[in-house]
Subunit: 381 residues, 4 copies
Amino acid sequence: MSNLGDHQLGIYLSGMFDGKTPDITTDLAALEDRAREVLSPQAMGYIVPSAGHGETARANRAAFDRWRIVPRMLRGVAAQRDHSTTVLGTTMPAPVLIAPVGVQTLAHPDGELATARAAAAVGVPYIHSTAAAHTFEQVAEANGDGQRWYQLYWPTDQDVCLSFLRRARAAGFTTLVLTLDTTLLGWRPADLDRGFLPFLHDVGLANYLSDPAFQEKAGGSPTMHWAQMFPHPGLSWDDLPFLRDHWDGPIVLKGIVSVEDARLAVRHGMDGIVVSNHGGRQVDGAVAALDALGPIAEAVGSDLTVLFDSGVRTGADVVKALALGARAVLLGRPFLYGLALGGQQGVEHVLRCLLGELDITVALSGHSSCGELSRASLQAQ
Amino acid sequence: MSNLGDHQLGIYLSGMFDGKTPDITTDLAALEDRAREVLSPQAMGYIVPSAGHGETARANRAAFDRWRIVPRMLRGVAAQRDHSTTVLGTTMPAPVLIAPVGVQTLAHPDGELATARAAAAVGVPYIHSTAAAHTFEQVAEANGDGQRWYQLYWPTDQDVCLSFLRRARAAGFTTLVLTLDTTLLGWRPADLDRGFLPFLHDVGLANYLSDPAFQEKAGGSPTMHWAQMFPHPGLSWDDLPFLRDHWDGPIVLKGIVSVEDARLAVRHGMDGIVVSNHGGRQVDGAVAALDALGPIAEAVGSDLTVLFDSGVRTGADVVKALALGARAVLLGRPFLYGLALGGQQGVEHVLRCLLGELDITVALSGHSSCGELSRASLQAQ
Amino acid sequence: MSNLGDHQLGIYLSGMFDGKTPDITTDLAALEDRAREVLSPQAMGYIVPSAGHGETARANRAAFDRWRIVPRMLRGVAAQRDHSTTVLGTTMPAPVLIAPVGVQTLAHPDGELATARAAAAVGVPYIHSTAAAHTFEQVAEANGDGQRWYQLYWPTDQDVCLSFLRRARAAGFTTLVLTLDTTLLGWRPADLDRGFLPFLHDVGLANYLSDPAFQEKAGGSPTMHWAQMFPHPGLSWDDLPFLRDHWDGPIVLKGIVSVEDARLAVRHGMDGIVVSNHGGRQVDGAVAALDALGPIAEAVGSDLTVLFDSGVRTGADVVKALALGARAVLLGRPFLYGLALGGQQGVEHVLRCLLGELDITVALSGHSSCGELSRASLQAQ
Amino acid sequence: MSNLGDHQLGIYLSGMFDGKTPDITTDLAALEDRAREVLSPQAMGYIVPSAGHGETARANRAAFDRWRIVPRMLRGVAAQRDHSTTVLGTTMPAPVLIAPVGVQTLAHPDGELATARAAAAVGVPYIHSTAAAHTFEQVAEANGDGQRWYQLYWPTDQDVCLSFLRRARAAGFTTLVLTLDTTLLGWRPADLDRGFLPFLHDVGLANYLSDPAFQEKAGGSPTMHWAQMFPHPGLSWDDLPFLRDHWDGPIVLKGIVSVEDARLAVRHGMDGIVVSNHGGRQVDGAVAALDALGPIAEAVGSDLTVLFDSGVRTGADVVKALALGARAVLLGRPFLYGLALGGQQGVEHVLRCLLGELDITVALSGHSSCGELSRASLQAQ
């Protein structure tokens, strides 16, 4: 079996042969409801809700509904579809990456290790969050021969920043993803109402606590030191050359939702951007990420690599984002729900289902690879 | 009583005389909820849900709400309305056909036989699915003098394909409906979560298992042979002449939702098309079928016969599809719900109610026949 | 107290003095839910639901939400507002009439008698339905000095038609309202599912059964004779001169929802029209009545009297209909819910609340009378 | 800690150190649901519902959803944001004021005193309602060094009006806010159904009962005298010079929702206006206040001070109103819910959370102060 979509038949056959149905739903948009049943209140509070009253997260989903796929018929689609692609030098079986998500141990004890292993098993690139509950080095070992990128929350302490970059490079992370939209933490009532911020409980500080530069500065109160060096609202375009000086791989800016900022990214020589509003976790009432994608891709899609993140739940969602101009898509909460529901296997399940649904949807839409998708594949509602 | 709408008075009178109310609701859009109460989980899973998270099925319904009928008054509507029509040589009391639906035994033990009998009793043409749970020959016998068409899932095995065409013709099926949108099975979580695909359990393979050409190839593992010959993503416009060579009746392409493909159908000399997204069962997030109908009918409605399918529930829905340019409408799930709720009688109930509501709605809109409906009968919301 | 809005203070004071709160809600849009608690299933089935799946009734309500009132400030509104007006020679305290509704005994044993008495008490004109459960003569006596119009379902039997006109005139009904949209009964699942049509049970036939012309024709089976003479789809513009010949008061056509038909009404010399879709009880999926009102009033509002009906629940709704060009508004279901909840007093309660809310809304919008309302009072959503 | 947003870290740290979570939710849009659990039925009826069927209140909220914030990245936001501003001579830490709300003792026994104290503690200006349950003098004492304005319901008795103005001035209220949209009380079913109007029970009459001019006129029936002097529909632009003659501070007109009235306010030399529909409590079906804001600010925003009120729940809402042209925003129901849930501390909680969320949202949007917000910060949905 070599089509990603063959996973579908595999599920049917496994149900047929062992009389058991899959443990986790294949309805990827329903994963959240399933995960609610197993997550602890604190984990739920941190993972599922968004900033404020959740308007941005709802807007993210609603934006997908305003675009409809227009399948074309009788186009002689290849019996063997090939969705594999290379993004900024990284190969992948289809244009999908694991989004950077912190403190994954909230979802499952194995946390990022399980995710990194699943990513490697399926061939999907893994992006390591600065706020991970496991260190660069641990995750790299779990990820093995997998492809991995590193997401940076740029601390105000440059020594720590430089140390992070050095360790990431040494551990085989090839592309740097700088998150722009979280120079301060968003207003997140679910966490606030529980008075729970993982980092204040030493959770999600693995990269920091294991860092010599951080240890030197933090003294006996690492949590407080983190709280002082994390906020970085002053970050500006003028800081980017520093990154370029200390990172020899591609650099991608994550969190852009305006054409103006996308153009500035081009002007500042960035390799890529991720159109994203952090899954609605930062600014309540913000523009839907998918609404931002089309105009941005049109304006700069030929000048740098445009990736997409925020609101993707299903294979159909991936199709829409690609058709609107994304070069590849980052998958966030769904894999985390898979992690919560089944550890490494759960993540693999979600990835294989997503890729399977993606392959089938692309083929049924009349294409032999994701690369054939274009704005003409969609119709505005 | 000779108006289709007289069925209404019949219901009232029957309630009056025997003190009993109808067994099945006359609110056709509410049939699904009733059917949920009687269908087995597996049947429910296969029949009711759609691809992915059901966005296409919801879009199908929402599209109907965006068109509103504008009834005209005092137009001297005929006391005896006549909605009878001839479509590709097939006569019918109103422009409504039974859509091809497979494995109807999931809904009721009598399956396609009950449906074919009901269709004949009401005079509505029956379209036989390749995936039926009864054979061409059994259905033809049940359908008797009724009008019947044959829907083809084109297998990759040409011998089986030819055998199917021969048997259909021999059994009195007059028009060939080639389904384009199901060269692979859509991603259907309700089935996947149960690990249940009827065909892997020898259900819905009646036409195959009874076929000499298939038997010859399949050997001892018919299910696996089906799984190998069913997927046919490579199907292309270039294959159509083969069909024409081996079928001497009209040929209709089912599953078209773009003006471009409709134009290609004209260019390839097809007799008709069915604007349809398979009731939302194939591509999640796809364009609503009704949204596709208007532009397609406008572009090619005079060059071939444009039929409509996907989302029709009520007589008002039929009116809207006809007014937007459909020559006739295929009715799917509603008759299946009727089948589930009452076998042959249930299907007849649904058909008579639909035709009754259709007649009354057309008459109240100021017309003496469906043929008078036009774009002017509607207003966009 | 002479402002209609003073009813508000009256309610507060009555609650203050007797410690009791009103028996029926003053939230007029919530009356339906209250009525559901007291109506019998059969009455509920006939009164509350609409044709088909209720799409037209929902569209009627949604249309109101798309228009927003723009209150103007500091306009020196009169301390004593005067909303009284004269419509086709009939005076009323505000441009509101009781819509013709049949078989009101389903809602309350006193039926039309209670409604006619309440109408007279409040000064609101009462429109008598041909399908009433009380006769012209009984209602006229109950209505006393009140203003009353007569609504005609034109039977195919001209003798009965003429007898109805004569009796109505003799009983003091001044204006004739010819209903156009119910030449056949709509498809009403709630009734069909119960096999209940009032008229087949001799309910709602009071005018017929008491009629000499009808008695002569009906013989021993009045119900069947009604069923034969009620359907009148052949009614056309050419029939209107007959009405004019036999009715010497104003004639109003009820059920018009297109500009074309409104223009035809002008051309045929009608005195008025009621823009209405029969509260959604006839054609499911039809255009919202309020959506039809604006264009119609603009096209013909100066050539004949444009009334409005369908979907009005609150004083704000009346304001919107008047601002869109209606000369006056017919109130249907709300008064019937009042009747169900409290007989004559219930109807009075609903009327006084509606007029009170209307007065207050008009005054707060910056006007001293309903007559000052115009398209400029509204903003499209 | 000197950023308003530092309140966020304070909540996390307090939860960390004392193991207790905040008593009241930080999800400001969810406060209403919490308040429902503690408010008496009468208080609920007066505070939460709106006029009629609540359409205006819903429209107010829906209008916010149609505008989306477009955060900008890498703009070097100040580590210390400064949202402080001066409006009509009144300083405040951010452009937010406490809206005038009457009878606050319904929410909490301490009523306006708690609110005035909380306002002073946080530095937010307090606007005193004529319908308060505590007098000018009591509130001024509670408010101490705080900033305070006075909202006038202009009674028809000029002596009382003049006495109110004198007392307000003497008690340190600096700006006069004249409410235009409540010359009559709106139709409020929740109150009417309970037959409860606070003022008829001597609640909300503190300013009146303590007034020498009022006492002189009222004799032994103050409630009835209030009922006679409160309605003032005749108020007009010509009355404004009288106010100017008797008030030497700025004058603001509250309740304007049309560009025409905003222009008239300019022409009549007003210092400011509050775009507001009284939180939907006066005219049901009225235009959403936020829909009115943009056009008004564009038309007159440079000619007088444009404030905004109606529907604000969260920091994101404040951002949207400011970006659409409001100079500052009035906060109503949310602080009242805080009052109900926790007295003075509850009000402080709501204010600090709102300002905190506001600061964080502004900073994450790429700005160092609210003053940088503009129409370019938003995108229409």
